[in-house]
Every structure is written in structure tokens, then in C-alpha cells.
Subunit: 197 residues, 4 copies
DNA sequence: AATGAATGAGTGTTCATTCAT
DNA sequence: TATGAATGAACACTCATTCAT
């Protein structure tokens, strides 16, 4: 049993983490493969043992960054709670990847547009499914009269997503309770508004 | 004042527009000075007649992109209307630059982080003032009991900004009434929530 | 009138000559763009002002290398002399580019195979036309009974070409009479054979 | 002697064949050690078990490619037949390696120039001996008046070699009778010329 | 108001080679 | 008899920038 386990899956994750970090902090085009290698303590050429190209590295990071959201929302949508509760739960669920793997999420948001058409397609598909799942929650709430009858569900979805994703731009929290608190307050605003009821 | 003023100010704006367009569509690091020159129909070296460096071009675009917001919000804050009306008006005002000069705004949002410290400072300062003006509106609303007493004004500000800015990611509207409609619906959600009152 | 005329067409030819020289002596894949630049006394990046890519440089050199042959043979074929005289004249004509621009010819022969399909096509087309013109000379000689009735004209063409091109591998002559002498002797062998008549 | 000898000699030949194939098709500098490894179904690093370096592989392939010619010509030169018959026999003999191991021969012709001085020397020595053996045949023919008295034997040798080697550039025959037919026709041209006697 | 010609630094990528296993 | 992991050197090519004109 060696002291440092350098077996494949773990090492692969280290490489991905380094790529995600560098892409998130410098942008895809502002980041060099040397930046990634430096973070790993290997030489630049060494990363080509793990990734066929810089762009493939980007697409992998993006894929990981979006998968989390989709999986969580689907479970919530299938659960047996009220529409308002689903929205609240989804906001909370949305915060988890932002807290746990902010680099991947940031790269998915800001850098996926630099993927060439073929590499961008599967990533975009997952993102669209997530949007659709959310929109259906709003429709459900309108249908059972929990939400206002005149609510523009498409716009509400986009609003919710914009709201939640903007957290990425300033949140650098360290313990999970902070992000849960944010999620709670955001849910209050979206569901009940800021006005005195 | 000649009828067709082809002198510096007009040409200068064309250069800025080209830079804003290219930075917005390809990102600062993904854009080359040749891309800008191509859009202007001149050769690469020609743009150095107008800008000392690529980074200076970026900082100019960013400055223009943020100034609009700040100016409009200050006027609204000074006006003699209710806090809720101010928020509603600010949302509408926020949409105008997004509609009229989306490239500048997008560059300010996504690319200002690539400015070196010194060039970023004045731009960031304006952005912070804008945030502060907004936050004060929420505080005013809490003080006069229009808004919930337990409202986290800092978070509400960030939420509002995230919400409004996210419009940039999908809005490609052509007439002004579309964006006004969006502003109205967003204001309803923020002020009153999605729930059936 | 400047002392050193650096005007475009002349400079372009200097670049081509350098590329031809380097490709001929080191092979396309063995040659680096730095080798070409060094020969020109400029830095490596400088050659990209003249050529879009290393491969385009190769295709240009190949095109120039083959054009000469084709043009000369066509004129001889159209002239009003006997078939045997045409063959003799063609052999002499074939030697001229080998003497005057051996680098281009060598690159055409040895390196054109490294051109990608699209770039290779026009070059190959010219080469095939040259072959056809030659073959027709042999057919003419068989038709008018100058040449043996059982002569395999296709094979004779390939033989003649192989014979003439092989000169490239050892000839490094300096004055034109040497190559003319070689041409004369080769013509004797092809037309009359080595045997005592 | 085991029936199926899977030990070194056979495997070594497979490796050489793979190297010869790849060098012949892509050129020495255009070929990578990975290309060779792929053809063998092993990983890149694996070929270093068989060859100390890529260049050693090239020199081996070249040596095998030239040995054949030399051995065959020596036997013919020593035989008790006329000079014309020797030339005819040598042309036929020259075709055999071209038919049976074209990759090796092609590599010897086109790529041996990329060998460094020390590695090229033994290969060149064999080639020169072959040339000398051929030239002596022509001299013999001139001496016994079979061939024209004014024949330039050095040039005739070079011509013959150029003629025969050019077959490599287009011949991709499958049965031995084809190449024998070519050899016969070439011998006719060289010995008797193309003219009607 | 712009261009032609170049440069120096850097970028992504390939490749021959090594070495422990 | 090979492979996994890496390295160092090279490579084609891009790019921001300069400067004489």
C-alpha cells in the first residue's frame, strides 16, 4: 500500500480540478496549458497525457459543471411537495454545487461559449433540460393556484436562474450554513416578494 | 458645426463600437486586434492610431458600459417617489443600456476582470456606487415600512442586480416595448413575489 | 531609386527561393520555418507575413517546379520536326529547369506527396499533362515508323522520365554546356541504344 | 529448431517491416515512432525494446534495402555471359527487390540522406560498389565491341540506375511476371534504343 | 489616417526518449 | 516483453506591438 495513491481515477480528478480552477480564474483563452501544468507540479507537455486538447479539457469541465444541477432538480420535481416548496428546494439545491465546486460551475457559465459547436451541444442540452424542469414547477404552481394566474412562467424561470447564478459572482463562503441562509432568503424574495405582506 | 462631421469624435465611436462588439462576442482574450481592424475595414496596425493598447480599449469600453447605469440610478434615487416605485423605475432604467448598447454592458460584466489593477479600479468604483445607491433604496423601503422589516437589504440588492443582469444572457430584442415588458414583470416578481397574494 | 529594391515581387521570389532551398535540402518535414527565416535573415515569425502556412509555401514551390516542364514540352510537341527530334529536344528541354532551378524541381519530385489532397491536385494535374504530351511523341514516332512497331509507349514515357529525373540526384553542374552534353548522350542512348549499330 | 519460432528473429523482422512501411509511406521525418508502434499493435514506448533510436531503425532498413542489389549484381558480373546479357540480367535482378520489398528499397532511396554521417557511410559504400559493378559491365561491352566505342560508361550506368529505380515511383504490381515484362522491355530500350533498327 | 514589414514573446501541440514497474 | 507517466526540446503558428513611410 503506497503512501501516495497515484492511481488513475484520482489523478484524473486532480487534473480536472486544476483545469477547472485555471479556466475559472483566467478564462479559457486567458489560461494556458502551462498554468494548468504548473498547478499540478508537472511540465506543460505532461497534461497531454491526460487530455487530448485544451478544448476537450474545457468540455469535460463544463459537463461536470452542469450535470449536478440537472440531477438534483429532476429529483425535486418528482417529489410529492407543493410547487412553492419545490421552488424553495430547487433554490437550495442550486446553491450546493455553487458551494462545493464553484470552479466547475463558473466555467460552465462563462466559458462554455468557447466550445466549438460539436462539443457545446451535449452541454447545452443538459442546461436546457434543467430550465425546462424549472419552468414546469412554475406551471404546476399556476395550475393549482398557488402562484399568480398571470405569471409569465418562462420569464420567472429565467429570473430565478439569473438570480441564483449571480451568487457565483460574489459568494466565496466557507461553511455550508452560509449558503443555506442565502438560499432561504432568496426563496422568500422570489416566492413572497420584498413588500410587506 | 458642419452637416457631416467625419472628424474624430464620430470615428472614435466607430472604433469603440467595433472593440465592444468583438470583445463581447469573443471575449477579451479570445479577440485579436485583427478582429477589430477587420470590422473597421482597416489593417491591424491601423487601430493603434486610436488606442494605445488593447487593454486601454477594454477599459474604455468597460467605463462606457458602467457609466450609464450609475447616472440613471442616481437620478431616480433623488426623485420624490415611493421606495417601491424607485425599485420599479430602477429595474426599467437598468434595461435601457442592455437594450441600447448590449455589447458595452456585456463587456463590462464579463471582461472587466481582465483589466489590470490600475485600470480596473475606476470601473469598479462606479459599479460599487451603483450598488450602494440601490441598497439605499431598499433601506428606505424598510424604514418607511413599505418593505418587510426583516429584509436583508444587501442580499436584496445583489439579488436584484443578478436578476436584471441575467437578461443580457438571453435578450436579443429589437423594439423597446419588449424590454419594458420584461422590466415590468421582473418588478412585479421582486416587489410582490410569484405567490398569489 | 533606392539602392536595395525591396519591392514586393522581388521579395516574394526571395522568400520562395529560400523555401525551395530548405525544402530541397532537408525535406518538407525535416525543414523548419526557422530554417527558412534564417536563410532570409529575418525572424521565424516574419515568414508568415508572406506565406499563410508552411504547406502553402510547399505547394507554391511545387507549382513553380512543375510548370516549367509542361510549358516547354507543349511547344516542342507543336513544332514541325520528326518524332525522334522531338524526343531529343524534350530531353534537352527537361534538363534546363534541372540546371536553372534544381531546388524547385527537387521539391516537386520528392516532397509533393506531403501536400494534402486539395493542394496536391493542381500540381499532379500538370505533371500528368506533361506525361501525356511525351507519350504522344512516342506514339507519333511509332505511327510514322521511326520507332519500333512493338514499342510500349507508356513504358517508354515512364522510362524517359525516370532517366531524365535521375539526373537531379547527382548533377550539380555549373555551366550550361555540361547539362547539354548530358542531354545529348542520354538522347543517343534512348533513341539508338547502347549497342553497336 | 522448434516448429513455431516466435523468438527474436521473427519478431525483429516484424518490427523492421513496420518501420520500413511507415518510413516509406510518410518519410523519415514525417513518420513518428507512434506510427510504427500502432502498426505493431503496441504502445509507443514498446519499440525501444527493439531499437535504440529512430535513426538506428532507419539505418537498418536502409542497409537491408541496398544489400539485395549488391549481392545479385556481383553474381551476374562473375558469370560467363556476354556484356549485353549481363546488362539485361542486371535489369531483371534489379526489379526483384523492387517487387519483393519495395518499402525497404524506397526508404533506402529517399530517406538515407537523413542518416547522420556515420550511419550513412556503410550504406553509401554498398551503393557505390553496386554502381561500380554495373559500370564495369558497360566497359566490358565497349572493350569487346558489343557496345558503341564512344559510349560514356559512367553516364550509361547512371542512366540505367535512374531508369530502373524510377519504376519504384509507379510500380505496385502483384505478380512476378509483370515486373519481368517491364524488365525485358527496359532492357530492349537500353540495349537497342527505341528506333526502328 | 493608415499601411507594410517586421519582431519578440508566447501558445497549443507533437515527439523521441527515458525509466520504474 | 512491454506499459504508464512523464520530460525536454522543438515546432507551426498567433498576436500585440512598433515604426518608417
Amino acid at each position: 500500500m503506497p503512501l501516495t495513491d497515484k492511481s488513475q481515477p484520482k489523478r484524473q480528478k486532480e487534473i480536472m480540478d486544476a483545469a477547472a480552477f485555471v479556466f475559472a480564474h483566467k478564462g479559457f483563452h486567458g489560461a494556458s496549458t502551462k498554468d494548468i501544468a504548473d498547478r499540478l507540479g508537472i511540465k506543460q507537455a505532461g497534461i497531454y497525457y491526460y487530455f487530448k486538447s485544451k478544448e476537450v479539457a474545457l468540455s469535460e469541465v463544463c459537463r461536470v459543471g452542469v450535470e449536478e444541477f440537472h440531477d438534483r432538480a429532476r429529483d425535486i420535481a418528482a417529489s410529492d411537495i407543493s410547487a412553492a416548496a419545490k421552488i424553495t428546494a430547487t433554490i437550495a439545491a442550486h446553491m450546493t454545487p455553487i458551494h462545493e465546486m464553484p470552479d466547475y460551475v463558473e466555467v460552465f457559465h462563462n466559458e462554455r461559449r468557447y466550445l466549438s459547436g460539436d462539443a457545446r451541444k451535449p452541454v447545452t442540452a443538459l442546461a436546457l433540460q434543467y430550465e425546462k424542469t424549472l419552468e414546469d414547477m412554475f406551471r404546476e404552481g399556476v395550475a393549482d393556484k398557488t402562484f399568480r394566474a398571470d405569471l409569465d412562467c418562462r420569464l420567472a424561470t429565467l429570473a430565478l436562474l439569473g438570480l441564483c447564478n449571480s451568487v457565483l459572482q460574489w459568494y466565496r463562503g466557507e461553511n455550508i450554513s452560509q449558503i443555506n441562509e442565502i438560499a432561504r432568503k432568496y426563496a422568500e424574495i422570489v416566492v413572497g416578494g420584498v413588500r410587506q405582506p
